[in-house]
């Protein structure tokens, strides 16, 4: 099997004997038997640590959850600074979790959480911060300060939690470079290894924002906003 790996802009071609192995097993095999200089990040091998996200033939995957085909082209994630080979710097991307205030503020006495209420953000809290959605997001081409899919999903994970005491503060945190900057193109959805749909979460955040009196600034700029209150003829 032939595996092509984009290394700092140039293609390296490796021949591997591995059959029915994950891409991470193949990369490890290359590193330990052919080329010790090949750099990639890895950890748990079971899709929960989020270390090994890369792109294969242009699509984001976890190397530990993907079985390669001969001829595949493996590249690092996009929208994040490249450190070396398949390793990227996640610091800035992760900093958006802080911008989005994605943490819980809970009251002294917690409300009861029913099984249904727990299920509301069950999938969102499966996020492993692998950065696949961030890499797939086209908004970064025009706005590098966009809070982005995983941080917005994380914001929604807390906003939708019945224990949360500061929904207003969280919604306020994602108005600028946040929910309205997303184009709802949905590129983030099919690449998520955990089956999360950031686009839907962002949509929910928009609804919640509307309820709290925020408007899409694109419309708000029309002379003080459109008034759908009283019909005028």
């Amino acid at each position: 099997m032939t595996i092509n790996i984009m290394r700092n802009g140039e293609k390296s071609v490796y021949e591997v004997a591995e059959q029915d192995a994950t891409l991470l097993q193949v990369l490890t095999e290359i590193k330990t038997t052919q080329d010790t200089s090949l750099s990639f990040a890895s950890g748990c091998r079971s899709s929960v640590c989020g270390s090994c996200a890369v792109r294969v033939n242009g699509k984001e995957v976890l190397a530990c959850a993907y079985k390669p085909q001969s001829g595949d082209v493996v590249e690092p994630l996009r929208n994040v600074p490249l450190l070396r080979d398949l390793v990227v710097d996640m610091e800035k991307a992760l900093s958006f979790n802080k911008v989005a205030k994605s943490w819980a503020i809970t009251p002294e006495t917690l409300p009861l959480v029913t099984p249904d209420a727990a299920e509301i953000n069950e999938v969102q809290s499966d996020c492993i911060l692998c950065g696949a959605c961030y890499s797939a997001c086209p908004v970064y081409a025009v706005n590098p300060e966009f809070i982005g899919p995983f941080a917005l999903t994380r914001n929604w994970r807390y906003v939708s939690d019945v224990r949360e005491d500061d929904v207003a503060g969280k919604i306020a945190a994602v108005q600028s470079n946040g929910v309205w900057d997303c184009t709802l193109c949905g590129e983030c959805v099919p690449v998520c290894p955990q089956g999360i749909a950031p686009k839907s979460d962002i949509d929910m955040l928009r609804n919640k924002s509307n309820v709290l009196g925020y408007m899409d600034p694109k419309y708000a700029s029309f002379g003080g906003g459109l008034d759908f209150g009283a019909p005028s003829f």
Partner: protein, 542 residues
Amino acid sequence: MLDVLVIGSGGAGMVAALSAKEAGANVAVVGKSYPTRSQTCMAQGGINAAMGEDDSIEAHIADTLKSSQGLGDADAIDKLCREGVEAVAWLDHLGVPFSRSAESTIAQRRLGGAAADRACYAQDYTGLKILHTLYDNCLKAEIDFYNEYFLLELLTQERENEKEVCGAVFKVLKTGEVVSLYAKTVIMATGGYSRVYDHYSTNATGSSGDGLAVALRAGVLLSDMEFVQFHPTGLKNASILISESARGAGGHLLNAHGERFTDELQPRDALSRAINEEIKKSGAVFLDIRHLGENFIDHELPQERKLAKLYENIDPVTDIIPIKPVAHYTMGGIAVDENAESTLNALFAVGECANHNVHGANRLGGNSLLELVVFGKEVGRNAAIAAKVSKAIEVCGDGEVEVIEYLEMIKSYTNEVDFYKKRSELGELFYHFAGIERNEKGLSSALEQVHGMLHELPKMGVLDSSLVYNTNLIEFLEFSNMLHLAEVMLVAMLERRESRGAHAREDYPERDESLYSAHSGVLLHNKRVEIGFSKVTRKEEV
């Protein structure tokens, strides 16, 4: 100068940092990876707290003591279990999305060796969700993280005729620089050493025991290093963990003839041995969860289905899962006193790298997540208090010079021997001779081979000369750390001439209370390993 430097950014490190910060300390967390990538994310089963109506703190204490097989410290276990309910309530307040029962309480399930449904869980993502929630809370608390900093050595100084830790030296992966961070107190939270068993381990590749090896080189006492827990159900080919919750929910173990052969909910040590025996006898063992049904599997064990499909090409809904026991958790660690402080002044330890004597000879499922919360809070508080009264000065130790010299020397290593091959060999050696069952002959020959590898290190080395993100170098340093730990593990395994918990000697099959109701302790003295035993201070026989 920091008040508290936390090394290791997993669950234990982050709880410690939150607690130190709350106690008013100036704290930073350093990790060789990113916080959410640490081993804690792989914990699946749950976190124990005696909250159920048919459960009690006394029952939790009794189960834990029993499982520790005489090596648990009764006071430490008492604290662990008593603070369980409060620990889970704290996590609930932090926002951990636990699964819920029909009565809207935190859902609990039964794990091996427990008298009741005691493990609070979030599907089979308990560790992942606790870890991420802790990370979010650290961001909220504005705790500083230094990510992708690889620990090289501790910095120490002599003050008032006593040696104390005063910081640590790191390799920054991103740039290749060597930097020192100075602190009044240091908390080691670097995780376990199961990867000595290489691919015969459920653990992430990073579980190379760096913190323990560094502590050992700094003259710190490690204890009970011979106790390594084998998890009964790793996937046969990939050693990926299939959670105990699969058995807790009613999963069966079958031999090659499709027959059940043992009690599936025994503690992990006994069950791993039973499976090992059965694999020798009938050739294979399988986990069968088909009768639990697709709905239950997708709801409660979503990870397991995905991983079995990926690595074994089988679907647990319709097929039985081939398994084998593999190294999972290391009970041994940096010896600490009741304040969680090590034998080196100002050095504290918590989590899997520490030995708080709560697991003894065999850890119970659900007690390690609990340990990292209960003792993480404790150690953070204690380190913050110690920092307040510390008279340590800004810059200390000349350890950085030696470290840089050592890194330079590695460049001259000859690369005649491939350390990646040696790493696999070490794993084979440990799995077969220092694994589920051990004997004098096998352990001695393993020790001889480990000595050979240590001697051969200068013939190994690093081929990649890049400064930036040199994982070849990091993996060599990790391997070297594992070799140092392998040596002390084997010495301890040889010296404990009895069978107890996870340490099963074929040549000494009985438990020997007269000699070994004691913790083993290992030290490096003039580069030689010294071993001794200290009697268990307070124990209650169950």
